[in-house]
Symmetry: C2
């Protein structure tokens, strides 16, 4: 929910202004993860001090504050070795305010400071304990206990290194976290660790590195034995059986640390919640795993591990340095007013990227490399489960019908959180799909582990290579939509749908009776990019409609069949971006309650395509009209008969495509509408209030 960024320069002289600029730019890249307050912690003018600057509000507010205090901060002072940590927050415990912002600290003299992404579930118990030890607390956060607990560990184990006291502290923590620490007791050193929340390290060395991977050091003093794990001292074959998606190498270099080739060489380290904050500095990164503790001392990075709970998270014995393929311009928003708008208009391209190399339109064949060898096993399964949260869940709803049709299997769609609450029965012959743009969604990941423990085959559908879900799946489909920065998901939704459609095509490729249906869909896919362009041309008309709606408080969106998911997704977009109370309603349920809401005041939007449920949708339309509702319609291009029913000619024409793909086209006007409504209402499109891009806590 929050974004962490830390920067360590070793023997690379930087002015304090340069360091602060790095930190602020890093936070700006991560701002989509949270933006209600931000803070930095850097060395004070003497090495024995730490200066913390925190502000409620967006990163820009923090930047302005720093600019204002530039004299006091000694902008021009140069440091040879320095550690800076920073944080952009999305509040979970305690309202947004300066005192609740990060870094949180151990004491008024800032002995130990920490930035944290996640939730500590047992923080109350720890707080109670620390109060008995004489600590007093200044914030309402769960994070503050971490800083004070590390400080307490130092007080009780004065001989231990920085890394060791952090290890001792996090052994006591329950919940999810990624943290970076800085301390006046260990100047020039940085320690970072994660469990549940993502964290990666970028490395930039002037003269290259002496290794391409780094073996894990298991702490001799770790409590692994007590927990039933053998301490692992030497490299082993990774424990994972199905290694199809294993991103980590098996390189067995015996060097225990990573360092520049020449010990006197300059090196810089960047710690961040995701790659977008690192890519502009270096493309060489290490993804940390759960319970890794990374420490940098004297310019040397080492990774230590305390086996915590080996059952839920596989771990290899090395961390390979991978090369990011992302390009910097991919994450810039170009000529658009917001990332979200850019991402909506990218969809003619992003759907092509999703299909590239997978569909051969000549031979009408579909191959999904990431799951190809599992297809025989999948075809023998008892049922398919599709699990996700929010927009990803809607993509599953959208494709359920086609999957049922082409796989002839029962298809169950579940919200990850509800699925976990119920502790639903899972069988060894189930195939479970986990859908998540970031690949880090906490509920989806926990559902994945639940199903994996019960022996089901795990298929990941993510947009982020190397994400936890893609690493822990047996096989998967990378949706290839490109980085999505806008908090409200748009192009990832259409690409998720497309991935599921391609999967349905693969499942039916050997069935003669399904060939005409498959051909119709594949031909539809071929036309999809140009049809999306056609829909995007309606942008002006959508804006006109938005102008009539933006002062309303509620919006009902109705449809059924293949377009029901569009109603749910459209309503979610409007909710997220405009704070209007919108709701997606299955037209068939109208008479069982929601029709009571309809009168001449409440705006209603209905989707009426000429598919198998057109007549049923017309019935719903007539009921709404009979109650003096005056609906806005999303309808089929050239359907002049249906147009007559639209309020003041307020309709949006969408080209006809094969029914199973229609939802990809009908959702685009909803994306545009939510965007225009948000702009008209003066809302921040890319950073809606209260929301963060990647939800890495339950």
């Amino acid at each position: 929910m929050c974004g962490i960024f830390a920067y360590l320069n070793y023997l690379t002289p930087k002015t304090r202004k340069e360091i602060l600029d790095f930190l602020i730019t890093g936070l700006q890249r991560l701002e989509y993860r949270g933006y209600d307050s931000a803070g930095v912690g850097i060395d004070g003018t003497s090495n024995a001090q730490i200066t913390i600057i925190k502000k409620q509000g967006k990163v820009k507010t923090l930047e302005d504050e720093i600019e204002e205090r530039k004299g006091e901060l000694d902008f021009e002072g140069v440091t040879n070795v320095h550690v800076g940590i920073s944080h952009t927050r999305w509040a979970t415990h305690g309202v947004p305010s300066a005192v609740n912002s990060h870094p949180q600290r151990s004491s008024e003299d800032n002995r130990v400071i920490v930035v944290h992404n996640g939730i500590i579930t047992n923080y109350k118990d720890i707080k109670t304990f620390l109060i008995t030890k004489g600590y007093t607390f200044e914030s309402d956060t769960d994070t503050e206990v971490i800083a004070k607990l590390v400080d307490h560990m130092h007080a009780t184990h004065p001989a231990c290194s920085f890394k060791e006291i952090v290890e001792k502290a996090i052994c006591q923590l329950e919940g999810a976290f990624a943290c970076a620490f800085k301390s006046t007791l260990f100047p020039g050193e940085l320690v970072a660790t994660r469990r549940g929340s993502p964290l990666l390290v970028g490395i930039k060395a002037e003269h290259g590195l002496d290794t391409d991977s780094i073996p894990i050091q298991y702490s001799a003093e770790s409590d692994s034995k007590a927990r039933g794990h053998e301490p692992v001292e030497s490299p082993q074959i990774p424990r994972r059986k199905k290694s199809g998606t294993l991103r980590l190498g098996t390189h067995t270099d015996s060097t225990a640390e990573i360092a520049p080739r020449d010990p006197k060489d300059a090196v810089e380290y960047f710690f961040a919640s995701d790659a977008s904050a690192i890519i502009e500095h270096t493309n060489r990164v290490i993804y940390l795993e759960d319970d890794d503790v990374a420490a940098v001392k004297d310019g040397v990075l080492s990774i230590h591990r305390m086996p915590h709970d080996g059952s839920s998270s596989d771990s290899a014995t090395n961390r390979e340095i991978t090369t990011l393929k992302m390009e910097i311009q991919q994450i810039m928003k170009g000529n658009f007013s917001s990332f979200m708008q850019k991402e909506i208009f990218e969809q003619p391209d992003s759907v092509v990227n999703t299909m590239r190399g997978r569909i051969n339109f000549e031979t009408e064949s579909v191959v999904l490399g990431g799951i190809q060898k599992y297809i025989p096993e999948i075809k023998r399964c008892r049922r398919l489960l599709l699990i996700g949260c929010g927009t990803s869940y809607h993509s599953a709803v959208a494709c359920r019908q086609l999957l049922e049709e082409l796989s002839e299997l029962p298809v169950i769609v579940d919200l990850a959180s509800d699925f976990l609450d119920r502790g639903s029965p899972i069988f060894r012959d189930d195939v479970c799909f986990f859908i998540s743009q970031s690949g880090e969604t906490a509920d989806t990941l926990m559902a994945l582990r639940y199903c994996k423990d019960r022996g089901a085959l795990i298929v990941g559908i993510t947009n982020t290579v190397g994400s936890t879900i893609s690493r822990e799946s047996h096989c998967g489909v990378h949706i290839n939509a490109g980085p999505e920065i806008g908090v409200a998901s748009t192009k990832a939704y259409t690409s998720q749908m497309l991935s599921l459609v391609m999967f349905a095509l693969v499942m039916s490729d050997d069935r003669i009776s399904f060939q005409p249906r498959r051909q119709a869909i594949i031909q539809g896919l071929k036309q999809l990019p140009s049809m999306i362009e056609k829909v995007l041309k309606q942008d002006e008309k959508v804006l006109e409609i938005a102008q009539t709606l933006h002062e309303k408080r509620s919006l009902l969106i109705m449809g059924r069949g293949y377009n029901f998911a569009t109603c749910l997704e459209g309503a979610l977009k409007v909710k997220e971006l405009t704070y209007m109370h919108s709701e997606g309603i299955q037209s068939g349920e109208l008479k069982h309650g929601p029709l009571a809401l309809v009168d001449s005041e409440v705006p209603v939007l209905m989707i009426l395509m000429r598919d198998a449920v057109y007549m049923k949708c017309m019935n719903a339309l007539q009921q709404v009209t009979a109650r003096e509702g005056r609906p806005i319609l999303i309808l089929e291009e050239g359907d002049t008969e249906t147009m007559k029913w639209a309020k003041d000619g307020h309709y949006i024409e969408v080209p006809r495509i094969v029914d199973a793909l229609q939802g990809i086209l009908t959702v685009i006007p909803m994306q545009l509408l939510s965007y225009h409504l948000a702009v008209l209402r003066g809302c921040n499109v890319d950073c809606p209030r209260n929301l963060a891009k990647s939800v890495t806590v339950e």
Copy 2:
């Protein structure tokens, strides 16, 4: 959606005032089915005329209009033989208005008039055809074509009887209907028919009847042969294989008609959409089946059939006269201000009625007589499907977790309409539950037939003995909640849940490891009535909360786990009754979008019981609080720690019960809240706008 009532008196002299009173009282009993306009059709002062009186608004408006015109209507005139038909409407085609009300007529001289409940889907084609025949139309209804089509059939077949021309006309209709006809061409005769919508006949004869059942006459001239059916001329063994729930007798009396013992004897017939309009006159009724045409001529009732589409609806060869066990006081609202309020407060009794004779608290055993012999078959099934609409669907959501736990089977919950839209795969080893208070819900019934055609075992869960769903199921559970008149379902919901809980107990009775869990639930069931009473005592407190909320436009209701269904159901109740835009939100989804809605203005209600998801719910609560949301809480009795989080002390305490039953207790404050909000907002509690009790069209 509409209510039909017709009254025929034969050799029983009645004043026109008495006849009109019968019609109006009948409509009042049916008013819960629709109440936006009403009308009656009776003989004019000469038999060759028909007078129609129609008014927009509730039945009371029509009653006032009749009172005003009493001089012109000749209140004191006595008729020996008379047919009156009447209708209370819930608009589907055409806005509520006098001209769109029923009876609809063939022509300005009211040659043929009809009242209709249902939707004619091909009315546009018929209208186009009739216009070519010179008919002109005055209303926007689909019903008007029926009257004109019957008239057209008379014009083209002048020798045919009233029954025959109606048969010819309805052969041309597609959709759902129940109709009653009256004509100046056939004075003293009444014809009624149904397909899809319910209709029954009450019979009151001074000296008893000459038979207890009535054989079906198959029309010689029917088009059954053309449709691939053999015309059936004589009684046969019913085609249904599993006759466990067959309500119709196999009495094979050869009399083709029903008549009083002495042909000169007085007899009265009452045709109505349901029994509540008939019970005060007689308890002897015949439930008509799809495609039955009932005709009364010279005081004699006969039932004819045109086989229409034999595949979807079983039909016996007799219609038995059944005796209604309903009592008149059961349908009166007593000291309560509305039926809904009465039904909420009846729940301590209605849950006892649901459990009566089924649970033995001494031996901790559960027997469901209606499905007992199918249990071995059900235990061998592949999966359980629970299908319903609106509130019935929510009862399935509420029990899914317990069913998954105790049956160890995959449990799928689907909206009937969405299930049908998807054409979901169904297998012979599936067990499908169909849940409907009325047993007549059109979508649920169609889903039932879809699953039955594919060989699944069909289990009905209804509140109405003799309803179509209970007749067409292989087996079932009658929830025994007593008649529910309020359009918004309350006691039926809790009894539906209870029936599913009992089913889960039956499924696990032979499993040793489940015994402690079963015992805990059975002990919970024993305490349930007294605990419901405890919750009902919070009524004053709920009213106080309602007073702070009733001017708001939106309401968000959040919870998860066993209480998620309560959020959905609570939001539906508020929507139905108060026209506030309320929405039930899974707390786990909050961070995936809905949290953007939360600020200090939007009212939020959260359910926080001390169950397995308490900590997760507290996380959600803290997020809402961090966004300055000030939630109203439904929490566990005596949970002083959680109370502190409630806005201005606005919380409702609910006693703790075993988690699987908690939803029955948490929904009651939501029922009370929606009731009080509706009263405070000046809404009609029993007849919410735009809604009808029983949704008998798609």
